[in-house]
């Protein structure tokens, strides 16, 4: 069980939106995690520095929140094998599909990109099917 947190989730979502707005207003870039990660992996072509700084900030703030005493609920309910397999599949899929929850879901949809709408509907559907099959058919 996890607690239903509508207000905290709405506020956190607004912060994600602000992050995307800042990156667009300042650098003219989409705040998509897959694209930013791809940009710091070899072979690096250009714009390494701001991407690395973004990644550093993304790790730093939950750590700072923790130090400030903010409780951040966290539980990994799957096996290490699932994490390894899921990780590779997420990496390959999001790169092939040109984006993930942040790039398509938050940024692309807001720009009215039909590719992002199609991508979002597709991955939301396959995620739900996968969870259903794993939990209720296979009972993993």
């Amino acid at each position: 069980m996890t607690e239903f947190t509508p207000w905290m989730s709405l506020a956190g979502g607004a912060l994600l939106g602000l992050a995307a707005l800042l990156l667009m207003a300042g650098l003219g870039r989409i705040a998509g995690m897959t694209g930013i990660l791809a940009g710091v992996l070899p072979r690096v072509v250009q714009d390494f520095d701001w991407r690395l700084a973004f990644l550093g900030g993304a790790v730093l703030s939950p750590w700072l929140l923790g130090i400030a005493g903010v409780a951040i609920p966290f539980m990994v309910p799957v096996s290490s094998l699932s994490l390894a397999i899921g990780g590779v599949v997420v990496g390959v899929g999001a790169t092939l599909g040109s984006g993930c929850t942040s790039g398509h879901g938050v940024c692309g949809n807001a720009r009215g990109s039909i590719r992002s709408v199609a991508a979002t509907l597709t991955f939301m559907t396959t995620t739900a099917i996968t969870v259903y099959v794993l939990r209720h058919v296979l009972g993993v």
Binding site: G12, L18, M24, P77, G97
Partner: protein, 137 residues
């Protein structure tokens, strides 16, 4: 200056992921588990994020160019093709298996659970390999 702006955006992003609950695989998986312990919170994350970007982007684009670059780096509008759909479908399968998406997993590294590292290492392998294969075709 560009790095400073990247850092600020990253800090906002990480805080948003942590506070919204996207950092927590258990919560993410429960959102998709309609037949089980459904937790609708992530609808509010998406709602809050999309409302903010949908309102803000038009104001930003009206300025014609970003503060620190000459133009906006936007993907050219294109058709929905097989690669987009197959890739997105695959991404969803991985997300359902692990409970982490790329944006959730990087901030989660701050929480010090070694299992997050397993996911991130595997994901970077997938992104790096696919990027280099795509660059060749």
């Amino acid at each position: 200056m560009k790095s400073l702006l990247g850092l600020a955006a990253g800090l906002l992003f990480g805080a948003g992921i942590a506070l919204s609950g996207m950092i927590n695989p258990a919560k993410v998986l429960n959102f998709f588990d309609l037949a089980g312990h459904w937790d609708p919170s992530l609808m509010f994350v998406m709602g809050g994020a999309l409302a903010t970007t949908a309102l803000g982007y038009p104001l930003i684009f009206r300025r014609g160019r970003p503060w620190l670059d000459r133009f906006f780096h936007l993907p050219a509008p294109g058709a929905i093709d097989r690669r987009l759909i197959a890739g997105s479908a695959l991404f969803g399968v991985g997300w359902g298996i692990a409970g982490f998406c790329p944006g959730g997993s990087i901030p989660a590294l701050a929480l010090g659970d070694q299992r997050t590292l397993i996911f991130v290492a595997a994901m970077l392998l997938g992104i790096g390999a696919t990027k280099n294969v795509l660059a060749r075709i």
